[in-house]
Symmetry: D2
Subunit: 308 residues, 4 copies
Amino acid sequence: MVQITADTKGVFVIAVTPFTETGALDHDSIDRMVDFYMDKGADGLTILGMMGEAPKLTQAESIEVTRLTLARAGEKPVVVGVSAPGLAAIGELTKAVMDLGAAGVMVAPPSSLRTDDQIIGYYRTVVETVGTDVPVVLQDFPLVTNVQISTKTLGAIFEEHASIVMLKHEDWPGLQKISELRQAEARGRRRVSILCGNAGAFLTEEMQRGADGAMTGFAYPEMMADVVRLSNAGEFDRAQDLFDAYLPLVRYEQQPGIGLAVRKYVLARRGAIASAAQRRPGAALNAAAIADVERLIARQTRRLEALA
Amino acid sequence: MVQITADTKGVFVIAVTPFTETGALDHDSIDRMVDFYMDKGADGLTILGMMGEAPKLTQAESIEVTRLTLARAGEKPVVVGVSAPGLAAIGELTKAVMDLGAAGVMVAPPSSLRTDDQIIGYYRTVVETVGTDVPVVLQDFPLVTNVQISTKTLGAIFEEHASIVMLKHEDWPGLQKISELRQAEARGRRRVSILCGNAGAFLTEEMQRGADGAMTGFAYPEMMADVVRLSNAGEFDRAQDLFDAYLPLVRYEQQPGIGLAVRKYVLARRGAIASAAQRRPGAALNAAAIADVERLIARQTRRLEALA
Amino acid sequence: MVQITADTKGVFVIAVTPFTETGALDHDSIDRMVDFYMDKGADGLTILGMMGEAPKLTQAESIEVTRLTLARAGEKPVVVGVSAPGLAAIGELTKAVMDLGAAGVMVAPPSSLRTDDQIIGYYRTVVETVGTDVPVVLQDFPLVTNVQISTKTLGAIFEEHASIVMLKHEDWPGLQKISELRQAEARGRRRVSILCGNAGAFLTEEMQRGADGAMTGFAYPEMMADVVRLSNAGEFDRAQDLFDAYLPLVRYEQQPGIGLAVRKYVLARRGAIASAAQRRPGAALNAAAIADVERLIARQTRRLEALA
Amino acid sequence: MVQITADTKGVFVIAVTPFTETGALDHDSIDRMVDFYMDKGADGLTILGMMGEAPKLTQAESIEVTRLTLARAGEKPVVVGVSAPGLAAIGELTKAVMDLGAAGVMVAPPSSLRTDDQIIGYYRTVVETVGTDVPVVLQDFPLVTNVQISTKTLGAIFEEHASIVMLKHEDWPGLQKISELRQAEARGRRRVSILCGNAGAFLTEEMQRGADGAMTGFAYPEMMADVVRLSNAGEFDRAQDLFDAYLPLVRYEQQPGIGLAVRKYVLARRGAIASAAQRRPGAALNAAAIADVERLIARQTRRLEALA
């Protein structure tokens, strides 16, 4: 049973949750999707995140999705999102998924937190609840959570809890935050793994600032895998060439609201899942949006061929 | 199995959830508390609301609290709060509690809703999820949810869904909202029951505007029962005399944050529950606050004696 | 030219801005209102606050209101609210009103601030902008500003800026904040004046926790003056008796939205201003609300007679 | 004196406000910047918007910036942002700038608005305040204002006020909103001009949905002018080729917070303004960010050469 650590690097794809057209969990597509992500270069997965329609699942379904994903992922690490309004639910789901073999859990702050001490206090309670032996990913996503965590506050949390081993970085803008965290480590603070979100829209710059990789769900994971690999090899310009070819679609998929519909549409089109269906409430792409996406994919294909 | 309807009147006490000092559910105190509330004049109860520490319970515990409360409440109706970030959880908990004999479920809007149509659409999906045979209470509490529902939007929702039979009214200020809803009914819209929250701080005026009673958790439910009874008898001045005697404590208990600690302290002091303990995170009253409360209770007692 | 200091005590009434029925500034009523407030026991005034319809005034009008108020207030100190989205406007208005003889300026944090350091940085810039010789009141009103300032952050700001001499305290709940600020002073931090807002709804408890008085606009300033005087004399029970007599109306006037209409209605009724008119947008009381207020005043009068 | 109408098309550049290193208004750079924007293909300008540091200007400075810009812009239309917390300030600034010859004013909704009727009521009051003869641009920017305006609500506002002639569209995602507005016009509603913001990041798709152009401040206005021109000529693929070359920098400039620093850095680098300085509070780019921007510009230059 592999677990994430403060040294974890690479690409953890934020997985969608596949449903059938009638809204049932699509078990076969879970297998297919796990294979697809791994085949495209994922080093691990993160399930039941914000883009995994987690709040639409019953608790039993959440555990079932975890069980099926872990079974298929084999030795590859799978992080599970366990954010919830209450600590009891966080603790209960954490115990269940860690028992099944999860690599760690991810927790975003509830939107009611405001002051630095409230944020620090929250993660103290989270660690007490899940236990210090469970690796935790702190998800820093102010655009959605409405909680601003300063670099100093992140530092205080990391210093207090050795079990918070990873930052899912999606502050926006956040490049300077990565630089400051790495500078603090250079001055002696313990290392944490930094994997970046925001649909990968700043992945090239993030890698240059010292990120360890990506944790996001862009429907072409091979882009993220290649950018991380090339960046780690110091080939930043080639990384950026590749990135630029995908950027028009990254941008389109990053739109709030319909972003998940775009992602599922592309994944279904690529054969990773059987259906683009979302559980209610969740809008499907209309014809105009499909035309946009198809046009972007066609252009992307031509540009990648030109790069090859 | 009694259910709430659009004609329901009276006082539904928002129940606390009793815990032991170590944070376990206190089964004995649930019985004691139900007896206490009924003895003080409650016509029904509402459990697992915001002041019931619902998010701190696991789903299994939520169902256990419901089962125990229903068993003790006998023929008295018990509404269950089922608000959750996702519809799957709402649907699952609703089915469980209605099967146990709940009188209806209460649903507050998620804080992401903004436009009128988003709010209307949300309650459409809720009714589809729980089924049209389940009586629903719409909780209108902008101070906490950050969702503003206009009278017009409430009207559109009530017209569309006969199964939304009750409004838990705690807009602030909201007296005019009650007047406008009743005026619309006078012009022909179907009736809904309006029970008022906000710790009862405007109960006398709310009754004069046409409310059917209270749904809130002030630790002296006899005040609410008496104000509702006297108001229904047209004795508004006597109702206000009684109300005024309790108002200093109502005001103190209404404070965000420590309000629940005050309420549990008073309930424990009155013997309704064994301990004032809250589950983490939840602050106990410190000595200064206890001194405030004791002083207010002593004055309240003297004033009630003078009224008698 | 009197200025506020860290030792200022007493009642600073938050003044309304009087308008004629057509929305023009009512110069005569400014004089009448200043006399009324002083006659009822005010130690000073605060103008152009949130309840002074400041955003509805042009800058020229703001300065005119300041000039007229200062002229009438004579030796009594007048604080001027200068909160604005930008520092240039804050600096410009501050210079103008201090030149006219204002006792200090009041600044609330803009709602975009989140982290402790953002709040601390904001007040640093404010002090740089207005100059260290201008006494500043920090308005701490999270219900409206949506900015949470912890006691620790307040302390850091007070330690950094000797010219921030006063806290307008209206965190809710905030009794514990007063206790903690006074405890820090007992341990050696420099003193600040603490005047309390929130419509006076917790004034008796606030005085017992160590507040220096009130800064709020309840339409019966004599209540605040008497509560402060009795509290300072250690007669807390008599202070509470008096407070309780006014509490039903305090509560009604404290309602967001219509609170200002209630206040202006009562002030006009008492002869302090000629008209209850607000500038657009601003609702007048309808008949039902007027009936509520009249009923509360009649009861208040009877109760005060019984106390006398 | 040219004014905007419901038929206005093209690129209105959101202008920065040039300051010297010491924070004074840089009069010379205003001239230089106006010339630069026009030279790069702007059809008009919009000044004193969110990216124009408007809240940092005194009212006198706002009018001075307007006067200087209008003098230099000659026959080209200049829209002025007049959003403010209060209607008096909106009315006063509108009168001043229209007297100087502005082409119209732009008003964003205050963040306190929630329900559809509140939004509709707000724009009714705005039109009453500025007068029906002043062309108004409605700025729809939920990411910053936190106000969600549905397509239906926009329609109600457009139907009520003929003087609201233009939508500054920067809902995100908002492509569908453009489609729906145009469909309503096809069914008979009067036309409004739709110019798009969001740093131009979706300009190609927006033009295909029926937008009339761009109103945003990307530091390479020639991109926007060319994309609009090519799109109007039906050459969507060439428009996208061009757009894609600039997209990596568009994305970098679109970052909240540091976006304006990036924009001013590039404008100063291109000679449009003398200094990238912002008034306090406003961060300059650090070395790492400058390296990012320089790298992106170098790549952009190479790619544009390859396209030529």
